[in-house]
Assembly symmetry: C2
Homo-oligomer: 159 residues x 2
């Protein structure tokens, strides 16, 4: 179920996606973050413009929403994304504690349009050793010291 | 298998993680990106310092590496992370086309130290409808227009 207001916010996300293509500034993706009926942030995909492969619409909108609200905790916020988020953006949505996602296109639509989301979803579903990303654990004992420092420090309460 | 040089790079990543805690600037995580034996970028976790829940060490190091190399394609690069990446960062590593990952702590170590990575990995392994993130598809027909524009445009070749 969704309301006319949800449609209004999604149309804004779609508009950002379309204008990104028309102006040749980036991929066909837009995202809007809303809290209590108010738009907190809005961003199109900025991968090309920012020369940053992590600057997907959702990541850019989350960063901007945190800046605008002065917090890293977006609990109570809703994200409207013109496309179902890729694994990177889905992870970011969880870290930011956004509770609700509205999306237009699916990851299958994205794959059909030439985007790699589905490949990454498939990779992440495999056991780590079966992934194309080569991975090697080293210096586990030394790395553990940073976690011990953290657990004994006051700064962890601020995280 | 790994070399003394791999250990050297991992120790730098671990040092960034430790100094982040000692200086109370962020979580106990550091990452180094290397190409052809040269360090391209280095970053600790900057979540607190930047008020940005996406500013994990790996994301920050990828952004900086892209800036330093002037490309969004980090093929041929290796990432040394003091901890096994969370799903968001793993997604970013795939988008950036980094081929090799060295890590110190595991995601289980991170969970034991109070970080949410494991919860997010579990969420992402579930069918979308079973996840805690509420999701609703709307306006699929309208959203599809952005993808059609993209497929008919020249800008897609620059992505």
């Amino acid at each position: 179920m969704y309301t006319a207001e949800d449609e209004k916010f999604m149309r804004l996300a779609i508009e950002l996606a379309e204008s990104n293509v028309k102006q040749m500034t980036g991929g066909p993706f837009g995202a809007i973050i809303v809290k209590d009926g108010q738009i907190i942030s809005a961003s199109a995909n900025q991968v090309i413009k920012s020369n940053d492969p992590t600057a997907h619409a959702e990541i850019a909108a989350i960063r901007l929403a945190c800046e605008n609200l002065g917090t890293i905790d977006l609990q109570g916020c809703t994200i409207y994304s013109s496309c179902e988020p890729c694994p990177m953006c889905l992870g970011a949505i969880y870290w930011a504690r956004i509770g609700t996602l509205y999306f237009g296109n699916t990851k299958a639509d994205a794959a059909a349009a030439g985007f790699d989301d589905d490949h990454i979803y498939q990779e992440m579903a495999k056991p780590a050793a079966a992934r194309s990303l080569k991975r090697i654990q080293i210096l586990a004992d030394e790395a553990a010291i940073a976690f011990k420092l953290w657990q004994g420090s006051d700064s962890k309460f601020d995280y």
